[in-house]
C-alpha cells in the first residue's frame, strides 16, 4: 500500500428530497488500501459508494481521483472506466457466466482473443472456471456473487466499490468468498472501498475502518484503534464495547499515569491522564474481562477485580457471553470450555477482572 491518496472527497453533501442524507467534510483512500465503511443499515454507506463512483450526483462537494477533479461529463465517463462496483445483489445479465464476466470488456470494445484470455483468468481467480458456459440464471447465490466479482475485476479496475457483497450469502459461501476476495485484493493491490454492517467482515478485510452514523463519518482509523479507542458511545457500542459505565474521576495518581473513577460507588482503576471531577464513560471490551470464581491470588498486574452475580449467559457457539451485575453491568466473553470448567450458572457469584489499560475512557466534560 502506498501513502498517496488515490481518491479524495471534500465537503460532500448529498440530499434526497431536500433532506441531507450524507455530509462528509473530507475522506481519502490510499492506493492499494482497503477502506471499510461500517455502520448500521440506513446510515448512508451505499450512498457514499454511489457518490464516490459518480453514479449519484452530490448536492455539493468534489471528488478528486489521482489529483484530477471528476466534475465534467468526460471526466466522469473516463473515471467510471477505471472503477468497478459490486452490489449486494449480483445483478447478472441474462447470459452465460462467461458473457457476464466479459461484459465490461465488450463495453470497452476489446478484441475477442483478449477478452477470452482475460475472462478465463478472472474465472480461474474466483474459482468458477467450470461455470463459464452455464447460464447466470442457474447459479447459486455464492456462484452468482463470484461471477459478479469476476466481472468487476475483469476490467482491471484501479478502484473497486463493494456494497455489502457478502450480505445475501449463506455462511459457508460467505466465509470462503471473504477469504478469496481478501487474497485477491492483496495480491492485485487493488484499492477498494467496502460497505458493510458486519464488524467481523470489516475486521478481516480492512486496512482502515470508517464508522458511519446518520450520514456522517464519526470515526476513521486502523481497526485496532477503532475497536479499542472508540470516540463516542455510538462507535463504542457498534464495535462491541458492551460494558459502558458512567462515572467521575475521584483521584489522580501522581506520576503513575493512572486515575480512579467512581462508578455507582465502585472504584475502577484506569490507565491514562485525567483531572479530578471529570465526568467519563469507561468502556471495556468483553474479551478483556477475565472471569473467575475466586479473586486472583498474589500480586497481579490486573488492577481491577470486581465481584458480581451472573445475570445472563448467552451461548454463541464456541463462545459464551456472560452478563454480570457488579453494581453496574459488565459483559465478558469466555470460551464454552472455560464456562463449563467453571460451571458458570445464572445467579452465581463470580469475580470479573480487567487491567487498568483495558479501560477505554470517553470524556463527557466536567
Amino acid at each position: 500500500m502506498k501513502a498517496t491518496p488515490v481518491l479524495k472527497v471534500e465537503n460532500l453533501l448529498v440530499k434526497r428530497g431536500g433532506v441531507t442524507v450524507l455530509d462528509i467534510s473530507s475522506l481519502f483512500i490510499r492506493e492499494g488500501e482497503i477502506l471499510t465503511l461500517i455502520g448500521p443499515n440506513g446510515t448512508g454507506k451505499s450512498t457514499v459508494l454511489l457518490t464516490l463512483a459518480c453514479l449519484l450526483k452530490p448536492f455539493r462537494g468534489s471528488i478528486i481521483f489521482k489529483g484530477q477533479r471528476v466534475d465534467t461529463h468526460q471526466a466522469i465517463f473516463a473515471y467510471r472506466r477505471k472503477l468497478s462496483m459490486v452490489f449486494q445483489e449480483p445483478l447478472l445479465f441474462n447470459a452465460t457466466v462467461f458473457d457476464n464476466v466479459a461484459s465490461g470488456l465488450k463495453i470497452r470494445g476489446m478484441g475477442k482473443g483478449d477478452i477470452q484470455r482475460r475472462v478465463m483468468e478472472c474465472l480461474e481467480r474466483f474459482g468458477i472456471s467450470h461455470l463459464g458456459r452455464r447460464s447466470a440464471r442457474k447459479l447459486s447465490g455464492g456462484e452468482a456473487q463470484r461471477t459478479s466479482l469476476a466481472r468487476a475485476f475483469a476490467t482491471l479496475p484501479e478502484i473497486v466499490f463493494l456494497d455489502e457483497p457478502f450480505a445475501s450469502l449463506d455462511p459457508p459461501g460467505r466465509e470462503s468468498l471473504i477469504e478469496d476476495l481478501g487474497g485477491i485484493l492483496r495480491e492485485t493491490q487493488t484499492t477498494a472501498i467496502l460497505a458493510t454492517h458486519d464488524l467481523q467482515e470489516a475486521l478481516r478485510l480492512s486496512d482502515r475502518l470508517a464508522v458511519m452514523n446518520e450520514g456522517k463519518i464519526v470515526q476513521i482509523g486502523p481497526p485496532a484503534e477503532v475497536m479499542d479507542h472508540p470516540v463516542d458511545l455510538f462507535v463504542a457500542s457498534f464495535v462491541g464495547m458492551e460494558t459502558l459505565m458512567t462515572g467521575s474521576v475521584i483521584e489522580v495518581g501522581e506520576g503513575e499515569g493512572a486515575f480512579t473513577v467512581s462508578i455507582s460507588g465502585h472504584h475502577v482503576q484506569v490507565a491514562g491522564v485525567a483531572t479530578p471531577g471529570e465526568k467519563v464513560v469507561c468502556g471495556i471490551r468483553p474479551e478483556h474481562v477475565t472471569l473467575g470464581t475466586d479473586p486472583p491470588r498474589g500480586k497481579s498486574a490486573i488492577r481491577n477485580v470486581l465481584s458480581g452475580k451472573i445475570l445472563k449467559i448467552v451461548s454463541l457457539g464456541l463462545f459464551c457471553k456472560v452478563y454480570l451485575h457488579c453494581g453496574f453491568m459488565v459483559v465478558a466473553f469466555v470460551t464454552r470450555q472455560f464456562g463449563e470448567n467453571l460451571s458458570l450458572k445464572v445467579g452465581e457469584d463470580v469475580t470479573a477482572s480487567f487491567e487498568a489499560t483495558a479501560v477505554h475512557v470517553i470524556r463527557r466534560g466536567k
Binding site: 453514479l55 467510471r80 468497478s84 445479465f93 441474462n94 465490461g104 463495453i107 442457474k138 466481472r151 466499490f161
Partner: protein, 232 residues
C-alpha cells in the same frame, strides 16, 4: 354449418391457389400493420424506456396518459386522423387520406401507447440498481439503454405481439382513413366487413381464417422465442 364448412374450404382453396386478390389484400395488410408496428416500436420502446428511467414532475400523469392510450378505441383514432388529414384539415395539404400511408399513421397511433406501456413495465421490472451496475461497468448512456433493453427482451417481445396483434385485427380506423379501396387500401379486416355486408360469407370466412392464421403464426413464432429463453 354448411356455410361455415364451405367458407373454410373456400379459404384453403384461395390460399392454395394463391388467389391474386386475396394475396394482394394479405400482403397489403402485412405491409401496413408491419410498418405501423415498427414505427410504434421505435417510438414506444424509446418513450417507455425514458418514462421508466426518468424522474420528472408530472410523471404519474404521463403514465396514466399512456395507460389510457393503451385502451384507445380505434374508431376514435380513425376519426381524428381523418379530421387531421381531411382536405381542409391541418394536415390536408399532405393529401394522404384514403391511402395506405394514412392507414399506417392511424395504426401506428393505436399501437404506440400499447408498446410504450408494455415497454415501460418491462424496463421497470428490472432490478433498480441494474442501470447503475451497467454504468459502473463503463457503459455509455446508449450502451446502458441497449443492455437494459436486451435484459428486458422477453417482456419487450410481448410489446411486439400486443402491438402487431392490436393493429392487424383493427378495423375502425383502417376503414375510416383507408377507404377500403380495392387493390389499393383494402386489407383483411376491411375486406371481411365488406364481404359480410354483401352476404359473401364464403369469402368473408376465408379472409377471417387467413387473418387468424396470421395472428396465430406470428404469435407462435414470438412465443417460441420467448419460451426458449424462459429461466428454468
Amino acid at each position: 354449418m354448411d356455410l361455415l364448412l364451405e367458407g373454410i374450404c373456400k379459404a384453403f382453396y384461395l390460399l392454395i391457389t394463391f388467389d391474386p386478390e386475396v394475396m394482394g389484400i394479405t400482403l397489403l395488410s402485412l405491409r401496413i400493420s408491419g410498418t405501423a408496428t415498427i414505427i410504434s416500436l421505435l417510438i414506444g420502446i424509446s418513450a417507455g424506456t425514458y418514462v421508466a428511467l426518468s424522474e420528472f414532475s408530472g410523471r404519474k400523469f404521463v403514465v396514466s396518459l399512456i395507460n389510457t392510450g393503451m385502451a384507445f378505441p380505434p374508431v376514435v383514432v380513425g376519426l381524428f386522423v381523418t379530421i387531421f388529414l381531411w382536405r381542409s384539415g391541418p394536415l390536408g395539404f399532405l393529401e394522404i387520406l384514403y391511402t395506405p400511408t394514412a392507414m399506417i399513421i392511424a395504426q401506428a397511433i393505436i399501437a404506440t401507447p400499447i408498446v410504450t406501456g408494455i415497454s415501460m413495465a418491462a424496463i421497470q421490472q428490472l432490478p433498480g440498481n441494474l442501470r447503475l451496475q451497467i454504468l459502473a461497468l463503463g457503459a455509455t448512456r446508449f450502451q446502458m439503454l441497449w443492455i437494459l433493453m436486451k435484459e428486458a427482451r422477453l417482456p419487450l417481445l410481448a410489446a411486439v405481439m400486443a402491438g402487431f396483434g392490436g393493429v392487424i385485427s383493427e378495423i375502425g380506423a383502417s376503414i375510416m382513413v383507408g377507404g377500403n379501396i380495392k387493390g389499393y387500401s383494402r386489407v383483411l379486416t376491411t375486406a371481411t366487413v365488406m364481404e359480410t355486408s354483401r352476404g359473401n360469407f364464403e369469402i368473408a370466412i376465408a379472409l377471417s381464417v387467413i387473418l387468424l392464421l396470421f395472428v396465430f403464426l406470428i404469435n407462435a413464432i414470438l412465443t417460441q422465442i420467448q419460451q426458449q429463453e424462459r429461466p428454468r
